[in-house]
Subunit: 200 residues, 2 copies
């Protein structure tokens, strides 16, 4: 079965659109998706590029995400709290959740909560999100703060770095990368060998 | 007739895709297009954002433009010379060409030449491009270097700045802006009042 890697960051506005879209599209395409939280923040910091110093661009991004959400029939009430997850705890909890097999539900619940007004990574948010998934919050938070999970998160970030990834979300088919939710359909076509650039 | 403003920079890779696509799509949509060269370079410099210090991202952009060109059936042989047009002369010549009524042909010829290996704004390139359009190169270059055309170019850049534009190409429908060739279809739908975000 064809496969794509879905690299995303808890705290990336455009990743919200992909989180809400990818399962249905991938199923229709017959493509398997590997969900891979990574630290786009670390990669952007390395490159000296900070969206938080670009308020004009951020205003545009919130508006664009809103329009794209409407286009795809995805809930959007108001721009989410941003930046969020200062310690990247929500991201590391994601790593822990995937290891335990409930990562997709955790991801979808977290992004919905974020666009519903919650800050990602805050204790109250994690308590509510994890409890709603039937998990004991403190044990997951402890795990997310363990050296093993930190190391695994760094490894995922390094995998993204090696692929030349610089933004979230990014889809990878082998070494071929596609940046942005608006490239999801292209990435799926690529995975199936049906992208026009492959058929010349 | 609905109208959109097409803000673009001679030297923006993604603008090539829009230059090659916009006439047919706008005609099909019944939307009038106002072509407006502006200095995205000045706006990015003001904001302290330089793509030339982001080689990983530029590698991606060239690859993405290639894939998108294939997707749309647009010629793409190899990545263009970039950055190009150091003095923004090709851009100011564009301003002059639009005032004289042959701006679209100049734009299309210039972008095709750029993706065919020519640097934009170089004397040899301008000689070849302008001559092929039946113009006398030196008189156009002199005009492009005149205070009046410089001022007009700055005014167009300021119009973009006032709209919150930060990248090229950007499409504007009144105050609503759409950044990137991949938003062209959305901008046309917006101009016609048919974008899903307008129909809620």
């Amino acid at each position: 079965m064809p496969q794509i890697d879905f690299f995303y960051f808890f705290g990336s506005c455009y990743a919200y659109l992909s989180v809400m879209r990818i399962e249905k599209l991938a199923e229709e395409a017959g493509v398997e998706v590997r969900w891979r939280p990574f630290s786009v923040r670390d990669l952007m910091t390395e490159k000296g590029y900070f969206l938080r110093t670009q308020p004009t661009k951020m205003d545009y991004i919130f508006r664009d995400v809103e329009r794209r959400a409407r286009l795809h029939g995805i809930p959007f009430e108001k721009p989410p709290i941003w930046p969020t997850d200062p310690d990247q705890l929500a991201n590391r909890a994601g790593i822990a959740a995937f290891i335990q097999g409930w990562g997709r539900e955790y991801t979808k619940t977290s992004f919905r909560a974020w666009f519903d007004g919650m800050p990602l990574g805050a204790e109250e948010s994690l308590n509510e999100i994890l409890t709603s998934l039937g998990k004991e919050p403190q044990s997951i938070i402890d795990l997310a703060n363990s050296p093993e999970i930190r190391e695994r998160y760094n490894q995922e970030t390094d995998a993204a770095r090696q692929l030349g990834i610089f933004g979230s979300p990014t889809f990878a088919v082998g070494q071929e990368i596609f940046w942005g939710d608006d490239r999801l359909e292209e990435a799926l076509a690529w995975a199936k060998g049906q992208h026009p650039a492959l058929l010349r």
